[in-house]
């Protein structure tokens, strides 16, 4: 707990980090508002004229079907957070567990197997793989999420494994083994908690990657099926832009850019704040 | 009295407003071993860094005073000039040998490099000089050591290799900062014996920085005692141990004697 308090106090001093945190917090609040039913509920209502420009009724104008672009962009915040949170959490947990097991059992077949799997997955061109899995599972509601989790865990696992290998030889782990604590207990109680700095940062990066990947998948028609996302909006906008209507494009890419900027600033600031080497004694 | 090889006058090192080295003055003569002693944090390493011009390039670090190497004033030299002096006229040996050795090159290559660069020797001359220098630091199988790589050597051998490299250019001054603290006691005896012997043969003045009073007593000709940045004593070793001028010195000696065999 004290460690977290210290981290926050360090974060507070980092201006760009604070900016990032504010942006993300704002978007998060918007996502909650959508979930709760207060915002963005009319994203599918086709009550405007086709391709209206920005105006009082529709702040960003309408798309080809007369749907309000602003409503759709706001609803997409919820989509983005859903994907981001689910993928970030699951891939980080999976990566942490597999990385810890590989590191703990370094130089045995378990480590070899996990590392091999990591290598194979990493060798496949990323978007191809994700697209392939999403395609194979299409129709299933979690196809896209699964595809992403299946590839994102490798980076976290690699970093956690390296850290666990280091920690394994430290004296406090040796002492724990000497009194006979089982490996699982040592990992959970002494090793993994000392990798949280890695997990938090990797989680944030996975969040960003998930949102970006969804954009690509939606572009390919393999992403969000029911609902709307910035990716879908961007996919729609390809034809529209050629016809001279930029509303969809600007709204989607603008909001996407802002959220990703905020997340990246936050991730950098967290990495500095959590860096154990800079931890004040 | 001959002219000193190195002459330090009123050397001060400031970090911000604090003087971590406070008006230190001493002379270092050819062929002599001057031990610089003190507990951790007393400023001995900062003094060495100031002499070598190796203080971290930070706005907060400042040094004042005079450091004369023979006729040259080091304090006013730019980095390019200092780089010429370092490794040729003043050499340094640190506690951790691996930081000075390049794992990619063989030991022989690294040692020969010193002769080629600083003594202008040809490739084959340098190789012979390298082998000879290794023998002079007490290494019994120089050919094998020259073919191997730094990570294949034990700590003691690595440190002796570093001493060989440092002395290859026949420097006027050798600064050794805790060179044997990380070594076993029998290895320490080997390294210090070889280093001081070589110093006397070549005429190098050695500034030996240590916290170990046993090392001071057995290998030093004169000793400087530092505490919190200030120089408390400057005496020949025999006199220092027989009649310390400062009570702090007395307490250091008493503590050292208690924990010895």
């Amino acid at each position: 707990m004290m460690a977290m308090a210290r981290t926050f106090s360090r974060l507070r001093k980092d201006r760009s980090g604070l900016a990032g945190l504010s942006i993300v917090a704002l978007f998060f609040l918007a996502a909650i508002a959508v979930w709760a039913g207060w915002l963005g509920q009319d994203w599918s209502a086709a009550d405007g004229a086709r391709w209206e420009g920005p105006g009082a009724a529709h702040w960003f104008g309408t798309n080809v079907l007369g749907q309000d672009i602003f409503e759709r962009a706001v609803y997409s915040v919820r989509t983005a957070f859903e994907i981001g949170l689910v993928v970030a959490l699951l891939s980080t947990v999976l990566g942490a567990v597999l990385g810890a097991v590989a590191g703990w059992r370094g130089d045995t077949w378990v480590d070899g197997a996990i590392t091999w799997l990591k290598g194979v997955l990493d060798a496949i061109p990323f978007y191809l793989f994700v697209a392939a899995v999403a395609f194979a599972l299409r129709g299933a509601p979690w196809a896209m999420h699964l595809a992403m989790v299946a590839t994102f865990w490798t980076t976290t696992a690699r970093l956690v494994r390296a850290e666990v290998l280091k920690i394994r030889s430290l004296d406090y782990v040796r002492s724990a083994r000497a009194i006979g604590l089982p490996g699982v207990v040592i990992l959970a109680r002494h090793v993994l908690p000392n990798t949280t700095h890695i997990l938090l940062v990797q989680g944030t990066i996975a969040f960003v990657a998930a949102i970006k990947t969804e954009v690509v998948l939606s572009f390919l028609g393999l992403g969000v099926q029911d609902g709307v996302s910035w990716g879908l909006m961007l996919a729609e906008s390809t034809q529209e832009v050629l016809a001279g209507h930029f509303g969809n494009f600007i709204a989607a890419s603008g909001m996407l850019f802002l959220l990703l900027l905020g997340l990246n600033l936050l991730a950098d600031a967290m990495q500095d704040a959590l860096d154990p080497k800079q931890a004040a004694l | 009295m001959k002219n000193p090889a190195l002459s330090v006058r009123d050397l001060s090192v400031f970090i911000g407003d604090q003087a971590v080295v406070d008006r230190v003055s001493f002379d270092l003569y050819e062929g002599e071993v001057l031990a610089l002693v003190g507990e951790s944090g007393c400023g001995k390493t900062k003094t060495a860094e100031a002499i070598m011009g190796l203080l971290a390039r930070d706005v907060k670090n400042r040094r004042t005073g005079s450091i004369r190497l023979g006729e040259q004033e080091l304090m006013s030299m730019g980095e390019a000039e200092m780089r010429r002096i370092r490794g040729r006229e003043i050499s340094m040996v640190f506690q951790e040998p691996m930081t000075a050795l390049d794992p990619v090159f063989s030991n022989g290559q690294q040692l020969a490099q010193q002769f080629r660069r600083h003594r202008g020797q040809s490739r084959s001359q340098a190789r012979d000089s390298a082998a000879e220098m290794l023998t002079r630091v007490g290494i019994q199988d120089p050919e094998r050591i020259m073919r191997s790589y730094p990570h294949q050597l034990s700590g003691g051998l690595r440190q002796r290799l570093i001493v060989a490299m440092a002395m290859a250019c026949r420097p006027r001054v050798l600064i050794a900062d805790e060179p044997t603290t990380a070594l076993d006691v029998t290895t320490q005896a080997q390294v210090l014996e070889q280093m001081t012997k070589l110093g006397r043969e070549i005429g190098t003045a050695i500034l030996l920085i240590t916290h170990d009073l046993g090392v001071v007593a057995q290998y030093g000709d004169r000793a400087l005692i530092m505490r919190r940045g200030k120089l408390l004593e400057n005496q020949p070793v025999k006199d220092l141990f027989a009649k310390p001028e400062n009570p702090y010195t007395g307490s250091l000696i008493a503590a050292a004697r208690e924990l010895s065999t």
């Binding site: 004296d171 406090y172 040796r174 009194i179 | 007490g138 006691v185 924990l259």
Partner: protein, 327 residues
């Protein structure tokens, strides 16, 4: 005068430990090492890097398996301990290691680190545990206020005391201390060695104290064992061994220490290096560097024999592995 030694607490008998070498021959880190430890005795295990001291510690703590030989604790073989006995063993033999900065789990408070062994060994209820922790933390000279702190708020010396408290809190019979003071400055070393002596007096705990520093061992240990290249070359009561070192390596070790008095003789350096391959072709492992080696030394490994002192008395307790004493 022969004194009959009572039953040892720890009996290490002809143990050897080998590591798989990198593709080549196995690397014998420890070879046929034997020693005893009585209840409440402090044995100093001395030697330089690579001598095998930490490997011996790992063997006693069962962190590494033996290749051959036997270790018995309170009369029973520890290698074959079954689960209830094994758990009991783990409580009775505790460890303290060298580096105070990695000795404690960084995100656990001092209290949490001390509770862990009590919890693992299911000792006492909550109140009793609090009492035991308070008593132990005070016995190592620390204030109970430190219990709620994290390791990075403590100095090196304080952390090492906490590590010692953690070893003591479950009331062990034996503490294996592997270079526990080597990373500390001289005044702190002195305080902690004094503390260990006090603990032995008040609690009767035995210590297997491993160190490369003979000065520290001299203050602490009742008896000493000197290791070189995986073997014990000499062992005996501390005073006797230091006054009359029998083995040439022990003598070299003592002579290499620089004394803080310029009037005393200069240290004598020992030529050569520790043999790279720790299973030499033949003979005594030290013969390549020994100034007194003769024919037998190159041919046969010496057996352990008692040392005769200047009065001609032999002490069973002072023994050495050297042909010079076996002629």
């Amino acid at each position: 005068m022969k004194t009959q030694r009572p039953t040892p607490l720890l009996n290490v008998s002809e143990i050897s430990l080998s590591y798989a070498g990198r593709g080549k021959q196995p690397f014998e880190a420890v070879r046929q090492v034997s020693f005893d430890l009585l209840p409440g005795e402090i044995l100093g295990l001395v030697g330089e890097s690579g001598a095998g001291k930490s490997t011996v510690a790992s063997a006693v703590l069962r962190l590494q398996p033996l290749t051959s030989g036997k270790i018995s604790f309170r009369g029973k073989d520890i290698a074959n301990a079954r689960s209830a006995d094994s758990r009991d063993l783990r409580r009775r033999i505790q460890a303290v290691f060298q580096d105070p900065y990695s000795a404690l789990s960084p995100r656990r408070t001092v209290r949490q680190s001390l509770v862990e062994p009590l919890d693992h060994f299911r000792m006492g209820d909550r109140d009793r545990r609090d009492a035991m922790i308070a008593k132990t933390i005070e016995s190592v000279g620390l204030d109970t206020a430190l219990l709620e702190r994290l390791p990075n708020e403590l100095s090196g010396g304080q952390r090492q005391r906490v590590a010692l408290a953690r070893a003591l809190v479950c009331e062990p019979d034996l503490v294996v201390a592997d270079e526990p003071v080597s990373s500390l400055d001289v005044p702190t070393q002195k305080r902690i060695t004094d503390l260990i002596l006090e603990l032995r007096e008040s609690l009767g705990i035995a210590f297997l104290f491993i160190s490369h520093d003979i000065g520290v061992v001299r203050r602490l240990a009742d008896s000493m064992a000197v290791m070189y290249a995986g073997r014990i070359v000499e062992t005996g009561p501390t005073d006797r061994l230091l006054r009359h070192p029998a083995h040439p390596y022990t003598q070299a070790l003592l002579q290499a220490v620089p004394v803080a008095d310029p009037a005393q003789p200069a240290p004598r350096a020992l030529d050569g290096e520790v043999p790279a391959v720790l299973t030499p072709a033949s003979g005594c492992v030290f013969h390549t560097r020994c100034s007194e080696a003769f024919a037998a030394c190159r041919e046969r490994e010496p057996a352990e024999v008692p040392v005769t002192d200047e009065h001609g008395t032999t002490s069973r307790h002072h023994r050495t592995r050297c042909h010079l004493w076996n002629r």
